[in-house]
């Protein structure tokens, strides 16, 4: 052999080297990277989803609030479309040729091989017409789907609405949704989305290169059936919900009614509302924009977001804390000369009552009484330790559900801030005392609450010392399970025995000649309550009523706020009265309150006139404004807002002129 023999090894080495390169690349493609494996599935494997029926929502007695109704979408798979009479299709589904071209182009852009929605939400009639002709339209198919239907057209904000998912939601839910799916966007539909939506069924289908289905993958081993969504039984009573919505028609305001013993919300009205059926169907997009641009903001959920001074609702609470601490008893009297004097400044009360005790103080909502009480509270540790006393006091106030959200099962609840001593020090420097924050003693100033919190305070008083977190859903599914946190009792730290005199005072407010809401007395039912009037710098005062009934073994606690409704007795108390009567007796006796029938209350229009048509203007409470004003002259403004409890409101036509 010659020396060239060595070249054998060079050639063989080259073979081995190149073979190793091939193997290395194969190892990368097949083992190290799963990109190609996934691409293969994208090629051939397509998931076909089967959509389950969304859970039905009922009221507390099982009456349906939201159900499903079939609708039809026309789908198109562009590459399967053969030339056909496009004009006839356009005529059937009612679009122009121009629309047709646009829609078809959109479908082609989305995917040539996969079907996409061509025309949404066809009516049953259109569907029937289409079915006859479908054979002519190759590449088109009709897909059945369900949409929401609300038989009573009530509870728009309460129930919320469903819409196509946004990109952000698709990402947030880790791949459950895909574009075009529907999701609860607000209200109960959103809160209980995972219960209501059920579980999508999947069929894994294999497709060949010409996009013809080749049967199911792995003999359907990985397929699943659709599981229908769970039924939701809400705590709402459909009758009083409907009545509440009617009574607040053409008014801005809210009604919250709670069953005290269970924390179940019986009525949840936010006005102006909207018909939930508007948010469904082919016009839903336009309707949404109309509702969205309504200057009275129907999408602002007032029961849980509206910000109001609790005012009169706060006075019983203040009394209860003082009674529990033993600072006063039911017989302690304060003298009301018609004002309360701090230094040289006199803060006016609405009336001159002389020496009054708790029961009358609450019935009359005597400011002087509660200022005295608040000063006593602040100075109980001596004049030097007022800040400390305030902090101890506000901690007790918090137990009543003020200063934080209550945790209702509804998205977006607000809990407005309750000031601590530290917060006041930041605002006023350290030289503040009871005189600086006197308005807090009568539920004004820095204390603000939502209507839900006001109703909850009434539930606490009705229960004599505890509450259960208000909630809107009584039970999920057939076994009616519920989050256990909605069964816990939250005690407020006041013994039951102290509630008697407070409730007496509230009873007098409705049922005695000196009461502020005596017109709203319900025959044969002892309703306890308080009226309130919130001064509104933009226009007429807001009318407020809070209460519960009947006095013994209360069944309903209620808070009603009618913006621009004048005095508490003018609108809020009558509305509460009608609702309570309806709920407790299941009938309305046709009585008149303030000389007006219930039909007149329903018909009254109290929508404020909006100057300069500012759609974003807050047609709302002004406590924030009051707050800012107070920074400079805290005391005077505080007193100015304190309009609670002007004695008995005259018949409402008078109220309107005041």
């Amino acid at each position: 052999m010659d020396q060239l023999f060595n070249r054998k090894y060079i050639i063989q080495g080259l073979f081995v080297l190149l073979a190793l390169i091939l193997l290395g690349r194969l190892f990368y493609i097949q083992v190290a990277s799963d990109k190609y494996f996934l691409d293969a599935n994208n090629n051939a494997l397509r998931k076909k989803f089967i959509y389950p029926a969304r859970g039905v929502i009922t009221d507390r007695k099982g009456k349906v609030l939201a159900q499903n109704q079939p609708t039809y979408d026309l789908m198109v798979t562009p590459n399967e479309v053969l030339p056909f009479d496009t004009l006839s299709l356009c005529n059937v589904i009612g679009i122009t040729m121009e629309d047709f071209r646009k829609k078809f182009h959109k479908a082609v852009v989305q995917s040539r091989y996969q079907s996409s929605i061509f025309q949404k939400l066809l009516s049953v009639q259109t569907y029937a017409m289409l079915q006859e002709r479908m054979a002519n339209y190759k590449g088109f198919e009709v897909q059945k789907r369900t949409i929401r239907y609300y038989p009573d057209s009530i509870g728009g904000q309460l129930l919320g609405y469903i819409k196509e998912v946004s990109q952000a939601e698709i990402e947030r839910h880790h791949g459950y949704y895909k574009p075009g799916d529907y999701i609860g966007k607000s209200g109960i539909e959103r809160q209980y989305e995972t219960d209501l939506r059920g579980t999508k069924g999947v069929r894994n289908m294999l497709y060949n290169v010409r996009n013809v289905a080749q049967g199911s993958y792995a003999d359907g081993k990985f397929d699943s059936l659709a599981i229908a969504g769970e039924q939701l039984t809400t705590t709402i009573d459909v009758e009083i919900q409907k009545l509440g919505e009617q009574l607040l028609n053409n008014k801005v305001g809210s009604i919250v009614a709670i069953e005290p013993a269970t924390g179940e919300v019986l009525a949840f009205v936010s006005s102006p509302g909207y018909d939930p059926n508007l948010m469904v169907g082919s016009e839903s997009g336009n309707n949404y924009m109309k509702i969205f641009s309504n200057p009275y903001r129907p999408f602002f959920i007032r029961p849980i977001k509206g910000r109001y001074s609790p005012g009169s609702a706060f006075k019983p609470l203040s009394a209860l804390i003082a009674l529990q601490e033993g600072l006063v008893n039911e017989n302690t009297t304060f003298n009301c000369p018609g004002y309360y004097q701090v230094g040289k400044t006199r803060f006016k009360c609405e009336h001159v009552d002389g020496n009054i005790a708790l029961r009358r103080g609450i019935a009359r909502s005597c400011n002087t009484y509660f200022w005295n009480l608040f000063v006593k509270e602040m100075t109980k540790k001596g004049r030097k330790n007022q800040h400390k006393a305030y902090d101890e006091w506000q901690e007790k106030v918090r137990k009543f559900g003020i200063g934080d959200t209550l945790g209702i099962d509804y998205p977006g609840e607000r809990g407005y801030k309750l000031f601590t001593a530290e917060d006041y020090t930041q605002r006023y420097s350290k030289y503040w005392s009871y005189g600086t924050i006197l308005s807090v003693g009568i539920g004004q100033g820095e204390i603000t609450t939502t209507p839900l919190q006001m109703a909850n305070i009434m539930a606490i008083i009705a229960n004599k010392g505890y509450y259960i977190k208000p909630h809107l859903v009584k039970g999920i599914g057939n076994d009616k399970h519920i989050d256990p946190k909605y069964k816990e009792k939250h005690y407020v730290g006041v013994d039951a025995k102290h509630f008697g005199p407070v409730i007496d005072g509230m009873q007098d407010a409705v049922n005695s000649p000196i009461g502020t809401a005596r017109e709203s007395m319900i025959p044969n039912i002892l309703m306890c309550g308080k009226t309130g009037t919130v001064q509104n710098t933009h226009g007429k005062n807001h009318s407020v009523f809070i209460g519960f009934a009947p006095r013994d073994n209360p069944k309903i606690a209620i808070a009603v706020i009618v913006e621009n409704g004048g005095y508490g007795g003018a609108y809020a108390a009558p509305i509460a009265s009608f609702i309570t009567e309806k709920y407790l007796t299941d009938s309305l006796k046709g009585r008149r309150i303030n000389g007006a029938t219930i039909e007149q209350y329903k018909a009254d229009n109290l929508l404020p006139v909006l100057k300069d048509k500012l759609p974003k203007q807050k047609p709302k409470v002004d406590t924030s404004k009051v707050d800012t004003a107070k920074k400079t002259v805290p005391l005077k403004t505080a007193v100015a807002t304190n309009q609670f409890n002007k004695t008995a409101v005259a018949p409402k036509n008078n109220a309107a002129t005041e």
């Binding site: 070249r7 091939l22 493609i29 097949q30 691409d39 599935n41 051939a44």
Partner: protein
């Protein structure tokens, strides 16, 4: 002689035949899988590709065995005639051939189609072996090199006229047997260096390449600064290389057809073209990648079953192996090829006659070229040039041609003790 004829079967390298049959079996099994449709493939059909391939394999085997019965001297003696016939066929195909897919490469004979370029390979291999084995040939002088080049370039030029670039490029593999027989290594280095530079020229801007050539040239010149002749040589090489860059660029932009350009660009990753020339490669890579380590299982490959890879039974048969048998299957197949090729080379080295050795090297390098380019293109590291995978790809002409190539060598090897 008589004695040897009686026991020539004992001298035949049975291991090689076994590997050959294994590869044919791999081919049949995977072609069946490509054609398999669960609902319509209940009965075996000889009109389907797998049925035809079975006929090709059997006839190929018969062909191979009858080659073993021939006298070993036959190939050496008739080499010029075989070469002449293949050249005539190559010319004939240009006249009477059928144009399939833009290439005039087929002569229809009955229901079969003959592809002369496949047979040109062993014609060339035989004549090359015959020439080099003739007395007193030294491949380090100009004249024999030119004659060898002429033998190789004639069929290449004719195939180029079809035009079938894939088959034409296969003839480059004859460089390695020539190298084994004494072709100066520098020539190979220059050739492949030029090819490398051509490819780099597409990647990197020409100015950067010129600067790097100057730097490298400078380093060499500095290393040989005492030797004027060498420095002159280096200078000439640098100038030629730079000129070559511009010529190469010109050739690429103006001489190559657009589809060839795209294929090269797609292979180099300069372009992504998932629907045009890149489509085959993308789908083939997906199919192979889907196999993962152990494969999806025989007849279970979705990409294979549902026709995602074009030309899957012929040029892209390896993607079926990749998908259904996984990395392990690919490893086995490549291993079989390596074993076969290294064995052929070892066998070539044990030949007494130069003719047999050159022939052995020739077929090993032809097989290897096919295997590397074919598998390389299915996994996207080689441009898509349509050449079959030896013994596995569907097709009578290629299978027979590879069979003849191999069995001639087996015959020569069985006769290695004799004189040719």
């Amino acid at each position: 002689m008589q004695q040897q004829n009686n026991r020539f079967f004992f001298n035949v390298d049975w291991i090689t035949i076994l590997i050959y049959m294994a590869l044919c079996a791999v081919g049949f099994v995977n072609i069946f899988s490509v054609q398999y449709k669960p609902d319509i493939s209940d009965t075996f059909s000889f009109s389907a590709e797998y049925g035809k391939q079975l006929i090709f394999i059997i006839t190929g085997l018969v062909l191979g065995l009858s080659i073993l019965l021939l006298d070993a001297k036959f190939f050496s003696v008739f080499a010029p005639i075989v070469y002449g016939i293949t050249v005539i066929l190559l010319i004939a195909v240009l006249v009477v051939g059928r144009n399939v897919g833009g290439n005039q490469a087929w002569i229809p004979i009955g229901s079969f189609r003959l592809q002369p370029s496949e047979f040109a390979k062993f014609g060339t291999a035989l004549l090359l072996a015959r020439y080099i084995s003739s007395f007193n040939i030294k491949l380090n002088s100009l004249k024999p090199i030119l004659i060898c080049a002429a033998i190789i370039l004639l069929p290449m030029a004719l195939i180029k006229l079809q035009p079938d670039d894939g088959s034409m490029l296969v003839f480059l593999s004859f460089m390695f047997p020539l190298y084994r027989e004494g072709l100066p290594g520098n020539l190979l280095i220059i050739f492949w260096g030029a090819a490398l530079l051509f490819i780099l020229n597409l990647f990197v801007s020409t100015s950067i390449l010129i600067i790097s050539i100057l730097i490298i040239g400078g380093i060499f010149a500095y290393a040989h600064r005492k030797k004027v002749r060498k420095m002159i040589n280096i200078g000439i090489i640098v100038i030629i290389a730079i000129c070559y860059l511009f010529i190469g660029k010109y050739l690429f932009d103006n001489v190559l057809k657009p589809h060839q350009r795209t294929r090269i660009e797609v292979t180099l990753g300069l372009k992504t073209d998932n629907r045009g020339a890149g489509y085959n490669v993308v789908q083939s890579k997906i199919a192979i990648g889907a196999g993962q380590l152990t494969g999806r299982g025989y007849l279970e490959g979705t990409q294979t079953k549902y026709d995602y890879v074009p030309a899957q039974s012929t040029d892209f048969i390896f993607s079926t192996i990749g998908e259904e048998w996984g990395f392990i299957g690919c490893f086995v197949v490549i291993g079989l090829y390596c074993f076969l090729l290294l064995r052929i080379i070892n066998m070539a080295e044990r030949q007494r006659s130069v003719f047999s050795r050159v022939y052995g090297y020739s077929i090993a390098c032809i097989f290897f070229f096919h295997v590397f380019i074919n598998i390389g293109m299915t996994i996207g590291i080689m441009p898509v040039i349509g050449i079959p995978l030896p013994f596995i790809s569907y097709g009578g002409s290629s299978l027979w041609s590879f069979t003849i190539l191999l069995f001639i060598f087996l015959k020569l090897d069985s006769n290695r003790m004799g004189f040719i």
